[in-house]
Amino acid sequence: MGELSLAVLLAGVLAGAAPLVLAVMGETVTERAGLINLSLDGTILLSAMGAFATAYETESLAAGFAAGALVGAAVAAAVAVCSVYWRLSQVAVGFVLTLMCRDLAYFLGNPFSRLPGPHAGPWAVPFLEDLPWAGEVLFRQSLPVYGSLLLVGLTWLYLYRTRWGLELRSVGEHPRAAYARGMNVRRLQFFYAVWGGVLTGLAGAAFSLCVKPGWGRPQGAEGMGWIALAIVIFGGWHPLKAALGAYLFAFLQVTGVSLQGIWPSAPAQVFQTAPFPLMIFTLVLVHWTRKGRLRRWAEGRRWIGPLARFLHVSPPRALGKSLPG
């Protein structure tokens, strides 16, 4: 790892973060509509398994991605039906489903483990790939990476620049007012839960067909769903800040691998686990910025003030509360 160039590092970050960005965007949309889909971790694994199995049987990557999206949508629909229509605890249902989907993925995926299967290789954009520096970073990636980059912009546009996005946010902030304005709150929440599920399913497919090709136990995507949930909070339910969080996490993971080459004496587990406690630490920082006294203290200072304002977030007002009655 001697010649560690910035372009290679950035390209690795973009590629590694692609599934995480997909899942984070999906969960951001779902939580903006006031629903918590806690089943992310299991959904990612189950859709990764479904995508790989389908792609292996049909030898078609498109079918694999479609299967992943379908699995994700199905799990999200289960969470949404239980919490929106039957008014069960969203957290409890999501938690049970995350464990069940994980075990279901291991159980059903057993015949497909450690098989060589199709995977989405890099697909260079013609002409643009020859750009001196940006070509290497941006335009020699695989399709899920392009998709994830486009999705960040599209999600932002949808949330803040369209009427539907306004309706989506109003449902998450004040469902009763939205209901009074004539919106079908339950149907919207169900729709955006499934939307988030489709993106989460694509994230799982991106894992097993692109970033960590193949299926096995462990697959390598374990824990990513929990990280995605944490990044949504870190990003303050804002798509651009959340994407930044996802790239930050991928950067930590990539540098962990290269740092290990520099200090071979340090145990491997340190670099594998370091991003997780760092994530917890940032969440604690985010929480501190909510406290009034600390905010006032930080206001006047040159560096801490803007940083505290950047980290300060507030959730959608009605997050996690189903519409009563």
Binding site: V96, L97, M100, Y106, F107, G109
Partner: protein, 174 residues
């Protein structure tokens, strides 16, 4: 499987014939009884139940919800630590990466299946343990993955959650 060398046998929990440690069993039953006693008949238990039932009302009663939750978390963490001790010294006799066997997640499922009551917990925990132990044989006997037990447990809890929710809705309407 990676992990440390096994501990010398002096450090193992003493066990009877088929690997049952009387100390571990006694510890589990004591923890169960102590939890029931604390929740039912002490001031701490009353405050915990008040905070859990309605945090904003408990403030009016002069309770500090943050402090109560912190106490509860610390007690729960201590019990989880005891479980880890039993795993190391009673079950595996060494430290391995998968030392928790996902029992932390499983405990949450048990509590949900018991609808947050204490009395059904031992029976459910025993049932889940039977599923877990039985599923170890699955890869050898039927060549399917041992995670089938997790699927069954999850399906049980999900179905129970739905039934409880349905009952509550029927109750609130009728």
């Amino acid at each position: 499987m990676s992990g440390t060398e096994p501990f010398p046998p002096e450090l193992w929990l003493p066990a009877w014939g088929w690997r049952v440690s009387p100390l571990a069993l006694a510890l589990a039953l004591t923890a169960l009884a102590a939890t029931g006693w604390v929740l039912r008949s002490t001031r701490l238990g009353l405050s915990l139940r008040a905070v859990g039932g309605n945090p904003s009302a408990s403030v009016l009663l002069g309770l500090n919800p943050g402090k109560c939750m912190l106490t509860a978390m610390a007690l729960a963490g201590g019990l989880a630590g005891l479980a880890g001790m039993l795993q190391v010294s009673g079950v595996y006799h060494r430290l391995i990466p998968a030392i928790s066997s996902n029992y932390g997640y499983l405990a949450l499922l048990v509590v949900m299946l018991a609808d947050y009551r204490l009395l059904p917990v031992p029976a459910i925990a025993f049932f889940f343990a039977c599923l877990n132990v039985g599923s170890i044989q699955l890869p050898m006997m039927l060549r399917v993955d041992s995670s089938l037990s997790g699927v069954i447990q999850g399906a049980c809890v999900l179905a129970t959650l739905c039934v409880y929710g349905w009952r509550r809705r029927r109750g609130s309407r009728g």
